[in-house]
Symmetry: C2
Subunit: 412 residues, 2 copies
C-alpha cells in the first residue's frame, strides 16, 4: 500500500500559507495504516496539477489531492484532474443545488463562478461537505483510489475523517495501526529516555516508541501493526515506571485539560500572579471555553512596583531577595490567593531574556510559586536563552506543579 | 528560471513536524525572483531521495534540498544525492575538523556518526554553517544549481540567507523582484478593498497587489519585477487614500512595534485590564524583550467579583449594564489606570464564545476601553463564533485603538 498527497495552491509555494493540511493528513493516514510516502505541492496551474496527478496515481494506491476547488478563476484542480484521468467534467444539478443552499445558510452571496464547483468527472462519487461549499470526490482508477478535497482546513478535516478514512481503512492489504499516547509533563525527554531506557523496543520490534517533546511536556507515542495487547503491555510498564510524570493514567488528557478537571473535581478556584510570563498563564487557562468554572483571574505584575501594590509582596522581600527569588515567587502567589479569594494561586517570576541576566541570576532563571490556604511552596527552573521558550516552558511547568499538588488531594 | 524544493524527513510525511521550512524558503525565493514552482517531500530513504533529485534536477534550474544531513543512520540525504548525480562521496578532513570544533563549542558530545556528516560529493562547494554542525553544499550540474541544506530551521535559514540567495540572485535570466509592504490595522480586508478598489492594478500590470489578512490587520504587499518606482508610486497613492489605517507611513513597523515606539516616544506607561482575553493583551505586550520600558502590568478580571474587587468597577455599573457593556469596559480601564499609576490603560470585556451568548448580547460582542488622565473612551466590535479568533482580533483591535489615540498626541 503506497499513499501520496498532492496539495494545490500558489500560496503554499510562495510561503504565504504554511502547509498544515499536509501535517494533518499525514498524521491521520499514518494512524490509519496507510502512511504518506510522498507529498507534492503544485501551483494553481492545470498542466502542473494534471502532470502530478497522472504521475502519482500511477505510482500509488491511494492519492489524496487537496485545494483549488473554489469558485474563482484560480481554482483549476478539477480541470487538471479531468485532463489527467481523461474523464470529462459534467455539471451536477444536485451538487449545484446543495452548494447554493450552503451559501445561503452561511449568509453569503452565491459567487459568479459557483457552477465551476459543481462539475464532476464521470464515474466519481460525491463526498458531501457539511462544513462548507465544495464537495469532495472519490474516483476509483485501475490501481488507485483518488480522493479530491477542498483546501479550507476545517472542510478538509471534516471530509477526510468522515468520508476518506473509512474507505481507506476498508482497503484490502491494509494493516491497521494501533496508537497509544502517554502524555507526560515535568520531565525532559532525556530524563524520560534514561528512566525507561531498558523498556524501549529495539529496531524491528512490532511496537515502535516515539518521543515527541513539546513545551507542555513529552508525548510517548506507541504504534504497532501487531496486536494492541503488545502496545498496551508496554504502555503499562512505562506508566508504572514513570509514575507521576504521566499526566493521567486513566485518560489521554493533556496538561491543561487535567488541571481544569482536577480543579473542578475539587470545587476549587485558581488565581494567577505573573511577572515574566506577562499574562501567558491566564491566556493558557482561558484558551478553552468553560475555564470560568475554576479560574477567577490574575495579576500581571510586570513592574516591580505592581508586585508590591497589587500583590502586597513586602518591599522588604523585594529588597532583600530581589524580584526573581523563591521568596518573591511565594509572596506573589500568597498575595494573589488573598486578593482573589482563591483556593489555589500560581505565580511565576524570572528572567525570560534575552537581556537582564547577571552572573548570580542568569537569563532563564525562573521561580514558580504555589499557594493555598495555610501553605505555599516554590520550584526553581534554569532554562536557556530563548525568550519564547522560557515563557512557554515555565508556564507549563507551573501548571504541572499545580497538577501534581492537586493529585495528592482527594476529590470532593 | 524554474525552482524546485525537496524537503526530506519521515517526520514531515507523518505530520509530526509541520513543514515551516518550505514556507520560509518559498517566501525568500519568491522575493528573490526565483519563485518555487514545485515542492516535493520524501522520507528518509536513499532510493526516494535519489529519485526525486534525479527527476527534479532535470526539470529545474535551481533545486534546494533540505534535511537528512545529521549523524544518525536515518540521515541519508548525501547517499541519495550521490546516487542521483553519480558522484562519489569522500570525507573532507577540513569539514570533519570544523564539525568537531562546533560540537565542542556547543558543549555536546561528538556523536558516533560524525564522519557521515563530513562526506562531500566530488566537485561540490562547501557552504559553511555558523549556526550548527552539518555544512551546506552547492553543486553545479549541467542545467541546474543544486543546493543541499540542513533541516534544522535556524541553520537552514542562516545558510539560505547567507550563501544560497546571493548565488541565486546572481544567476543570469533572473529578474529581481521589488517588494513593498503596507501594514494596516483596524480595517477589514473587504473595507480596504472597497476603499482602494480603483487603485488595484489590473491583471498583467507590472505591479501586483496582494491582500494578506491576519488577526493583527491586513498587509498590502506590492511586488514588481519592473522598476521600484512603479511600486512606490502605487504605495504612495494607497497610503494617502487609507490614511490612519496605515500603521506607520514612515516605516514598516507592525502594530505591536508601533505601539511600543509611540509609548516610548511619549515617555508613557501602559496598564491592562482583561476579561475575555484572559491575559492575552499582557502576553502580546511582553512577547518581545524591552516591554518593561512602557508596560507596568495588568489585571485579569475573569470572574465578575474580580472586576469589582481589583479594578473597582462599581457594583452598580455591573448590575445596571452588565459585565459586557461600554460602561464596564471604561470602568475597567479607569480602574487599571488608577491601580497601576499608568498614563494609559486598555481594557477588554466580551463574550468570546462559543457559549455564553444571549439575543441581546450575542457571542462575539466585545467592548474595548481606553483610559487616560482625565478621560476614557470605548469601542464596540461584533465578531464571529470562533473563540480563538475573537480573542486575537479583539486584542489587536484594542492595541489599534491605543495606536490611533497616541498618534494624535505629540511625542515628547
Amino acid at each position: 500500500m503506497r499513499t501520496c498527497l498532492i496539495t494545490v495552491g500558489d500560496e503554499l509555494l510562495s510561503g504565504r500559507t504554511v502547509n498544515t493540511n499536509a501535517s494533518y493528513i499525514g498524521n491521520r493516514l499514518a494512524e490509519t495504516g496507510a502512511p504518506v510516502a510522498r507529498t507534492v505541492v503544485v501551483g494553481d496551474r492545470v498542466d502542473e496539477i494534471a502532470g502530478a496527478v497522472r504521475r502519482e496515481s500511477a505510482d500509488h494506491n491511494v492519492l489524496v489531492v487537496t485545494g483549488g476547488l473554489g469558485p474563482t478563476h484560480d481554482d483549476v484542480t478539477l480541470d487538471g484532474l479531468a485532463l489527467a484521468v481523461s474523464l470529462p467534467l459534467t455539471e451536477s444539478a444536485d451538487v449545484l443545488a446543495a452548494i447554493e443552499v450552503r451559501y445561503r445558510k452561511l449568509d453569503r452571496l452565491v459567487p459568479a463562478g459557483v457552477r465551476r464547483m459543481a462539475r464532476i468527472p464521470r464515474g466519481a462519487t460525491v463526498l458531501p461537505n457539511h462544513w462548507g461549499t465544495a464537495p469532495g470526490l472519490h474516483l476509483k482508477l485501475e490501481h488507485c483510489h483518488l480522493f479530491v478535497l477542498p483546501g479550507v482546513p476545517r472542510e478538509m478535516r471534516g471530509l477526510l475523517d468522515e468520508s476518506v478514512l473509512p474507505i481507506v481503512k476498508s482497503l484490502p492489504g491494509l494493516k491497521p495501526v494501533h496508537v497509544r499516547s502517554l502524555l507526560t509533563a515535568g520531565v525532559t525527554e532525556s530524563a524520560l529516555s534514561e528512566t525507561i531506557n531498558d523498556l524501549i523496543p529495539p529496531a524491528g520490534s512490532p511496537v515502535r516508541l516515539a518521543f515527541l517533546p513539546g513545551y507542555h511536556g513529552v508525548e510517548l507515542r506507541l504504534t504497532t501493526q501487531g496486536t494492541p495487547a503488545e502496545a498496551d503491555r508496554l504502555a503499562s510498564a512505562i506508566a508504572e515506571r514513570i509514575g507521576p510524570a504521566l499526566i493521567d493514567p486513566a485518560s489521554s488528557d493533556d496538561l491543561m485539560t487535567a488541571v481544569g478537571r482536577l480543579l473542578r473535581e475539587r470545587g476549587a478556584h485558581l488565581a494567577t500572579a505573573e511577572s515574566c510570563t506577562g499574562g501567558l498563564l491566564g491566556k493558557l487557562l482561558t484558551d478553552r471555553a468553560g475555564s470560568s468554572d475554576f479560574y477567577l483571574g490574575g495579576v500581571i505584575a510586570y513592574a516591580n512596583s505592581s508586585k508590591a501594590n497589587l500583590l502586597e509582596v513586602p518591599q522588604q522581600t523585594l529588597d532583600d531577595h530581589g524580584a526573581v527569588s523563591p521568596e518573591t515567587a511565594e509572596a506573589m502567589a500568597t498575595g494573589a490567593l488573598a486578593r482573589f479569594g482563591a483556593d489555589y494561586a500560581l505565580s511565576i517570576t524570572g528572567i525570560a531574556g534575552p537581556g537582564g541576566g547577571t552572573p548570580a541570576k542568569p537569563v532563564g532563571l525562573i521561580y514558580m510559586g504555589l499557594a493555598w490556604a495555610g501553605g505555599a511552596t516554590h520550584r526553581r527552573l534554569q532554562l536557556t536563552s530563548d525568550r519564547e521558550q522560557n515563557r512557554e516552558r515555565s508556564a507549563y511547568a507551573a501548571f504541572d506543579m499545580l497538577r501534581r499538588h492537586l493529585q495528592e488531594i482527594p476529590a470532593k
